[in-house]
Symmetry: C2
């Protein structure tokens, strides 16, 4: 059902479903049921059934979904078949890791260049992408119609970089800096907040040892 909005919770589960379906490659299974996907992920099968129905419609009674069709629908829904250009700002260790991350193109993300404020790295290449000076950012974004900006600068510079990106036409910010970013309306910030993950891990350990 393209054109329909979907909750963030559902959206965040879709890549997991796709991973399970991809994992079944080579087992020669033509069909896969929502129940089987739910079991593989340890999720409630009512949830999985509902999520899949919102992307693909209901599976066939008894047999479920045609695996390859469902994979195609998930990939389309997730935008993996529709590559988006992005730029990255901050070519430190994390930035370099992301520039070199070979898996992004499979997810429809094409990082076209990195930017940094350190003249020493201008012109160098990381993961096959040129590192350019900040002054070139607005022009390149506008010329190429770049809509996604990845921020991997230290926290104290992140808001300034964010303003530069949104001022250059970027509509979606992927923020790895550990600060809250203010953006104009209509711009999305997706925080890759490692502090949240750490809090969840630490809370789990606390609860584990409390119940022992």
């Amino acid at each position: 059902m393209p054109g329909r909005s979907i909750s963030k919770q559902t959206l965040s589960r879709l890549p997991e479903y796709l991973r399970v379906l991809q994992g079944l490659e080579g087992q020669g299974r033509r069909y896969v049921s929502a129940t089987a996907v739910a079991e593989a992920l340890g999720l409630n099968d009512v949830v999985v059934r509902k999520d899949l129905a919102s992307v693909s419609g209901a599976g066939r009674p008894k047999v479920g979904y045609v695996r390859e069709e469902l994979m195609g629908e998930l990939e389309h829904f997730l935008g993996y078949d529709n590559t988006q250009d992005a730029i990255l700002v901050g070519a430190g260790k994390l930035g370099q890791a992301l520039l070199s991350y070979e898996v992004f193109p499979q997810y429809g993300l094409n990082i076209v260049a990195g930017f940094d404020s350190d003249p020493q790295v201008y012109g160098s290449e990381v993961g096959g992408k040129k590192i350019l000076p900040m002054e070139k950012l607005p022009g390149l974004c506008r010329r190429m119609g770049v809509r996604i900006g990845i921020i991997t600068v230290p926290g104290e510079h992140a808001q300034k970089v964010c303003g530069l990106l949104t001022g250059s036409g970027v509509l979606a910010i992927w923020n790895f800096a550990n600060v809250h970013l203010s953006v104009p309306e209509g711009v999305l910030v997706q925080n890759e907040n490692m502090a949240v993950s750490l809090a969840i891990l630490s809370n789990h350990l606390k609860e584990r040892f409390r119940t022992k």
Copy 2:
């Protein structure tokens, strides 16, 4: 109210609250209200009020919380004042970025060593941490009582590494590999799933351009 369980949604907002409170440092404000925190983050203030009450009790009428006390309570709840040892497996670009990430100690995470299967990197240091051969993993985990394992190996090796970690006493896995991991009961997997973030960004762009 220590000892009480808390939802993952609430837990994931707590580090954001802490960031806002830290950001007010230097403004000389002794008190801060749930409303002010909600405004800074663009959240509903009923949500923030409820979240903060679960960590700290209700704020004082009219004035709210004593900022520094609330920060201390959040830090304690999040486990930031209680450092946990962790090890990292997979000293590629992403692994190296994490080993060098200077912010982790502030969140109570202390990576004691990195492990890799490539003999060429044995004995080298990244971010002040030694890279050790895989054979040393079980012994070190048991000796130091390491409870957190960070996986930054390619997807096809992640499950094997995960088994090695849980078999060595690790109870919380921070998974950066793009595969679903099966773990024994009582072990938590926190997926740092970049595919999810990318799906959310891409969906936002799709919706933006649909409404234009």
